[in-house]
Symmetry: C2
Subunit: 418 residues, 2 copies
């Protein structure tokens, strides 16, 4: 075992101990600690900004893009927003202790299925230091110890933020080791975290497809897949034209770089003649490059020819794949072949078409006459989310606090035997 592996395992063992003491704590104790964390962030904002300046300077030296530097940069004002987000998490209901199912069995046994924390949650994420406080707060509220493994580019910022949070925990009943930074900035430290099966209960990667796939490939700890979204909007023959244009435009252009942004538009041939001129004009005005099949290009020769790769790509840019289909089943078949199972939308005025689409499209979220951009914990009213799961086991879709828990059965009798 290498030194860094040993160090990471020691950290994970401390998290495990902390998790056992954290699990039975009441909401009041946890909320008090969260408010203390928020206050400490505000109080130490300047020292966090100073640590962040080191990361930013390094990023500039390395010639990083301005977009990346903007995501990395913290100011006293931004830290105030981060603290406010922690306070909002304190206000959310505590999922721990919720009775999910309960009954009295015929023999008089009282059966209760109760939400309990998962235990130790490992987070692997990219260069946004705001995730550090946010993930720590979500884990603490749900009774889980957090092992935070941020990007090396934000290491100084993350180190200082975690110091501040731990100092705040020192003054509370919450064990300080409930929030820890994973030591080291190398791939080896991330790998050691991925191999800590038995110490870490679940790993949640947050970031781009490359990061997520690497974690899935290398981890022996169970992973919750998040975020990849090759999302589709299907315009049915019976769609209202104005709603169809509005939803297509909003799904693609309201924000280009999010996982719930639409990447392919499928249009029924019966409405294509009417939809295409309007839709293509609106997309062009917004600077979107359309990659279309032959039928789209017949109507508008400026459209770039679509290749197989276009149907597969999560562009995350001002590009849109565009195809005319001859039936709703052709649209469903295309989605089945190319979707990552995140979010698909149908625009239709037909009850039968909506019902057919909803029952046959197997994605995390299926939207009826609604923009794909609504798949989001905040929009769904969950208050906060740790990520959007695109897998079928455990949690699917935006993961709020209840999705960060497991359950246990408590069975109470009076000397019952079989």
């Amino acid at each position: 075992m290498s030194d860094i592996e040993r160090e990471v395992r020691t950290t994970a063992e401390k998290a495990r101990e902390a998790a056992a003491d954290l699990a039975p704590l009441s909401r009041a104790v946890k909320d008090h600690a969260l408010l203390g964390m928020a206050d400490a962030l505000v109080q130490h904002a300047e020292s966090i900004v100073a640590a962040n300046a080191e990361d930013v300077a390094r990023a500039r030296e390395d010639g990083e893009s301005e977009a990346m530097i903007d995501r990395l940069s913290l100011s006293v004002e931004r830290i105030g927003s981060i603290a406010d987000a922690v306070r909002e998490i304190a206000e959310l209901p505590d999922p721990v202790g919720e009775v999910v199912r309960g009954s009295t069995l015929p023999n008089g046994l009282e059966l209760r299925q109760i939400r309990v924390p998962l235990g130790v949650i490992g987070l692997i994420y990219e260069g946004r230091p705001n995730v550090t406080a946010d993930a720590a707060a979500l884990c603490l509220k749900s009774g889980n110890a957090a092992l935070l493994r941020g990007s090396s580019s934000a290491y100084s910022s993350n180190t200082r933020i975690v110091e501040v949070l731990r100092e705040a925990l020192d003054k509370t009943e919450v064990p300080t080791d409930a929030v820890q930074l994973v030591p080291g900035t190398t791939r080896d430290s991330a790998k050691a975290l991925m191999r800590a099966r038995g110490l870490v209960d679940v790993l949640i990667p947050r970031g781009g497809a490359t990061l997520i796939q690497a974690v899935i490939r290398d981890s022996t700890v169970p992973v919750i897949e998040t975020g990849e979204g090759n999302c589709h909007v299907y315009i049915d023959a019976s769609a209202d034209l104005d709603k169809a244009v509005a939803i297509a435009i909003n799904s693609k252009t309201q924000r280009l770089s999010t996982c719930n942004t639409a990447e392919t538009l499928l249009v029924h041939s019966a409405i294509a003649d009417r939809f295409l001129p309007l839709g293509l004009k609106a997309l062009r005005e917004l600077g979107v490059t359309v990659h279309g099949d032959d039928q789209v290009r017949e109507i508008d020769s400026e459209v770039v020819p679509a290749t197989e790769a276009d149907w597969k790509t999560e562009y995350l840019s001002a590009d849109l794949a565009f195809k005319v289909v001859d039936s709703i089943d052709d649209a469903i078949a295309h989605i089945r072949a190319y979707s990552t199972g995140h979010t698909e939308a149908i625009v239709t005025d037909s009850q039968a078409a909506a019902r057919h689409f909803v029952s046959r499209v197997d994605s995390t979220a299926v939207m009826v006459n609604t923009s794909t951009r609504f798949t989001d914990g905040g929009e769904f009213g969950f208050g906060a989310e740790i990520g959007i799961s695109t897998q079928k086991l455990h949690a699917r879709g935006p993961m709020g606090l209840p999705e960060m828990t497991s359950t246990k059965y408590v069975v109470t009798g009076d000397g019952h035997v079989r």
Copy 2:
């Protein structure tokens, strides 16, 4: 890719197609198919018994134990019971389509979280051919395609049972490929199933610890861990003596080979003097060998000295590890160190002790004044179970039909954009 790997993948691809067509089918269609399957089993019982006779003859040639041969053997009567179990599954409520959560959002969007099938479920199990029909029926009822990989020792029986089930499905709207046997009897065929990530949604191993650990180690498909149970009974200082003896005896001896059988008894030192003579006498009369620590052996010198290995062992035999502890926290610490997290019981008359134990013992089921033997889908009133999950993600405890599903969000609007 080897021939067998190609064959297994082709089978899995057919399952994937079948799963897509199976998912939207109504309860009525699925129940009709289940009743047809049950009738077909009864109708073809003799040919199943004939196929089974080949497996039994092979087992005898190989010198297998009588217990193993008994588990393997089918008779017309046993097939009748298997068919009855399939009919009982038809009577259970359909989990698919249940609205788990629903609300109307402030902007008027209707949000529904709905149960949907997982898709394709792979079952890897040992030499009990009754599992074949049972697992196929549970998968079908929950809208999932079943890929069945039984033991090579039951291959003739399983092949004939699956033939009969598929002939029954041929006459219904349910796709025939919703039930398939994984081709081949070698380790390579099981491994190919474990590597079919993207085609198979979840693998559930049913059997001994060795099988389960091998599947966890080799599988890239998500696995639900089942069954390992190093279960504890803790007799608190305040326990009622009669209930304590009854629960200890029942937890250990009612059936020796099940995962919810107790393997270690922890007794508080304040009650040890009164409990030990009664408890040890009762255990000895039932033929149980007690492996005790020094304090137990002081009271009864016939007790075998316990070693570290005894605390760790899931005996599944007439052996019991036995330890005196000085406090409830010592009992909890012992359980944390050695338990597999299946089922632990406390016998106590103290509300405070029960509450403390329940909140700090992190196992699938925590029993208060109740035998460990009650952790069971049938006992819990679930009607049927595919196994008992001992992991924290997705499902924990006895897995009924709802635990064989995922969910999806359906969001309905009227042209809603962000």
